[in-house]
Subunit: 250 residues, 2 copies
DNA sequence: CCCCTCAACAATGTATACATTAAAAAATTT
DNA sequence: AAATTTTTTAATGTATACATTGTTGAGGGG
């Protein structure tokens, strides 16, 4: 268990600059206590998703522990957590390997999202949600349009991600939220790497707005169909990019 | 790490009868080595699914460790695994709690299965699978019919479970197999407890046969629709039982 | 050069000891 | 007697030591 005092006293100068930054963040935004497991998990996940820990990279637990500045026990627990989420693979005697995302993985992920999201959207529409209820979804859609206008693709991708996660949150099936969350995470890097290789997401943005409109009008069948098409087109687009640019994995 | 010698030498007489049984099983069906984590996981899961470890039961890690005859470390790892699968909840300072399954949980689970299984069945049908490919599914269906003729509900339920898992295996989406597996496990106890409270599964069995026939004939839309209806009716039936018998949780 | 054997090494699995701290119990105050 | 404070206990989180064992590299022989 970390306390703020621990953070500033326990670490060698080699890592103190970094952990000082972390400690400031902790002090400002969260309670001062964060377990080493949670810390290791968050840091490793952040590095995987931002591609600083590269796909295929592999190191034994003791090396991860050293780099994170803690003992092996919490590191192992963090890695097990990341393994359960499909981001790493623990290979006996070879350590933890950052799982690359293959085209076949993306196919699999999009297939599942293409089944689940339209279904969730349809059920949400059947509840005739009010504008107030859909406010976070409206905000995400607005942000996508604004980001597109600015030409800021990262911002657009973040708003897009938010749209999808928010929709499932509004739907409310906790098991679905958890499962889809790991799917989004697994697909994250591929989506970010390919972000600038694709056409501007004009059509995608319009589709989100249309999905939102259908939700607002309670058109369950309409939103299910459009969402399906949206997912199918997005999958096709991404897989084409992987093929066009000869990217076997990400 | 267990070896067979360890299994027979390490444990007090209080648990030796049980572990002797386990060791025989190990010797016959698996390599002699099984880690304590895997052992703890399998045993705990078995007890949860068979309702020997009751929903709501709660004990701290050290107590589980003592009962399993090993140190806390592998037990914690096994419990974390079970938590990730939705079967237990780790409550700080209160220990691991066996998660009861509420009616709302079953609603959630059936909602997801109702979206995923028909989708997988439709995609499988689109591949025009041969009879040989569907052999394990045919076998499961045959077994359901045989069990129904014998009036053996447990056998029927096992074959039913096998049908559903096999179908997803044949479909081949690994992420779906994993996710659905945990959903089946979570629903298992509820289904077993209610097995004798429901009508004989005559209609259900026929529906499975019909699903199989539609798969064999490559009728994607037909199988998707029938599977949806199948899941919807099964969900309704089970939820009615929970309500009729006043079962708040299982 | 290739193959085999064996020893060394290190990675994971596990047990145990220690640190932290929340909850419960005991003691004290009102 | 009830409320508050203090102390104790024990559960989880963590570090470290030990056990097991798979892999690698060195050495020797053909």
């Amino acid at each position: 268990m970390y306390t703020l005092k621990n953070l500033t006293m326990r670490f060698s100068c080699a890592t103190q600059w970094q952990l000082l930054r972390e400690s400031v963040k902790v002090a400002v935004t969260k309670p001062a206590r964060i377990s080493r497991v949670d810390d290791a998990y968050a840091r490793l996940k952040g590095e995987i998703l931002s591609n600083r820990l590269l796909p295929g990279f592999q190191a034994p637990e003791p090396e991860f522990a050293e780099r994170l500045g803690m003992s092996r026990t919490p590191v192992r627990e963090a890695l097990l957590r990341l393994e359960a989420e499909g981001l790493v693979q623990l290979v006996p005697r070879r350590g933890a390997r950052i799982l690359p995302v293959l085209a076949s993985d993306m196919t699999e992920i999009y297939d599942l999202l293409g089944a689940l999201e339209p279904h969730a959207a349809a059920e949400l529409a059947r509840r005739n949600p009010s504008k107030a209820e859909l406010a976070p979804l409206i905000a995400a859609t607005d942000d996508m349009e604004a980001a597109l206008d600015e030409g800021n693709l990262e911002k657009w991708a973040a708003a897009d991600d938010r749209f999808h996660r928010t929709l499932l949150e509004l739907h409310g099936n906790r098991r679905l939220i958890g499962f889809a969350s790991s799917l989004y995470d697994q697909a994250h890097r591929a989506r970010m790497v390919t972000l600038r290789m694709r056409d501007k997401p004009v059509r995608s943005t319009r589709e989100h707005r249309d999905i939102l409109d259908l939700l607002l009008s309670g058109d369950a069948e309409g939103v299910e169909q459009l969402f399906r098409d949206h997912r199918r087109r997005a999958a096709s687009e991404l897989l084409n990019i992987l093929e066009t640019f000869g990217l076997p994995q990400l």
